[in-house]
Symmetry: C2
Subunit: 276 residues, 2 copies
């Protein structure tokens, strides 16, 4: 669906095609509802404002509802929304405030994590591909994803669940499709994502959950790889697979701990299902 | 035209739309010919190899010929070619070696530079938007162009011809659509583009031209903004407008010099026209 019309093509003049000039949201649909919808729309609005184009919250909600209305089986879906700046004449210069072109497409949700992995944990690797530090785009979900594409091209071993990425100054950032949390001296920590990285909606949900339930806000800071080696517990999260303990990355190993269990319990309630 | 078929839309599943997962070439057409075609195709092939997909040189040449055959007025065109990784299932991981999807579109060439500007020079500004250092993509023309889009959004004054960009470590890189040359102690210099930036085909053409005609290869190095203040002559170039002297950027001023005149003469011959 593009701008409310049922079509599976987009104009060759669209700036998403030429420049990756837009944003995306990948949303989990449970029983026809999007549990984290307000966070997705908030991030989209913040991103559009920073990229100097315009999204209309109620219009996007209407489009999502219209789309979900027509999908026959909506109990468990992954819904991808692309908000592009739309078409323009040649050249990079944007028309400031141009209304976004909204494309929506759903696919059946397929969990990448089974019960055993969720309980006992998964393994990660360290990617050679680095994230460029560009505060212009930091925190957002721009359609410029070549760094992630090249990072995932580095491995094909199904036993490696995720690749962790550093930035060009050796700071820990995130996984290729997930955010990273770890426990240092009893304190839950996560990279700050001021210079690069995506502020995932599940990351934001868990920061708020732990702040409210423990009274202590997780530390968002600058961490190098050594911090992970010292961590007592490590987990990755996103809105699709929830939260999963990491038990190894290269030579470091960890055991699942209490923080990931509490995150998993919270996500189970959020997604109204015994198992995410 | 997409993969040889006359169409002005592209699949919503194309990875150019989702990830900017591809490369582009913007080519000047003069009298039905593309003077710098071998350099464009070389860069495209190098880029595709680094991004782990496949382009077919003879197939692309055939498509360009077929396209130009059908264009009624081909004396002066700008031709944009997009080589995307094509469609795929959801997820960043690419199928290594996937053949590219090739989209081609021409527009009438409109010179951004008039005779007076070419002779007397133009003004530039320094952009606040910085280029993230990512050796993964350095030198290439990836479809990830949001940094350039945001840089060009910074100004709209028609008296400012170009915006110069620094990287996140304060090194000089390039203009938003051009490469930068300057003369330090009699020696022609240009940023090395190992950490970011586009190795423009006109930059490569001029490096080769000056190397062959003077016996001295221009210096490709790391330069900070102070180098420009000390420069005796500065010019920008690309395959569209050729080479144009810069006479000011913020508080620094320069006069057009011998190097840009020799570059302009060379480009006039290359483009077989009295004035590029």
């Amino acid at each position: 669906m593009v701008n409310g019309l049922w079509q599976d093509q987009i104009s060759l003049d669209d700036r998403a095609v030429h420049y990756g000039d837009g944003l995306f949201e990948t949303m989990r649909v449970v029983d026809g509802k999007i549990p984290l919808l307000p966070r997705h729309i908030d991030r989209l609005e913040e991103g559009a404002a920073r990229l100097l184009f315009t999204t209309d919250r109620s219009q996007i909600t209407d489009m999502l509802n219209a789309y979900l209305q027509e999908v026959p089986e909506k109990s468990n879906l992954t819904l991808k929304l692309i908000a592009s700046r739309g078409s323009s004449q040649r050249g990079y210069r944007p028309i400031v405030g141009q209304p976004a072109t909204i494309a929506i497409k759903a696919s059946t949700f397929v969990s990448r994590v089974n019960k055993a992995q969720r309980e006992q944990g998964v393994s990660a690797r360290l990617c050679n591909s680095r994230l460029g530090r560009s505060s212009l785009l930091a925190g957002l979900t721009p359609l410029n994803r070549l760094e992630q594409v090249l990072a995932q091209a580095e491995w094909n071993d199904p036993h490696i669940f995720e690749g962790l990425m550093l930035d060009s100054d050796d700071y820990l950032v995130e996984g290729t499709v997930s955010n990273l949390f770890f426990v240092l001296a009893g304190q839950l920590c996560t990279p700050q994502l001021i210079d690069c990285g995506v502020k995932g909606v599940m990351r934001e949900e868990l920061i708020e959950f732990f702040t409210e339930s423990t009274g202590i806000r997780p530390v968002e800071g600058l961490f190098k790889l050594g911090a992970l080696a010292e961590a007592k517990e490590v987990f990755v999260c996103n809105s699709s697979f929830g939260a999963v303990p990491l038990v190894s990355c290269e030579n470091a190993t960890w055991l699942p701990g209490n923080f990931v269990r509490r995150a998993q319990e919270h996500i189970n309630v959020l997604y109204r299902c015994p198992e995410v």
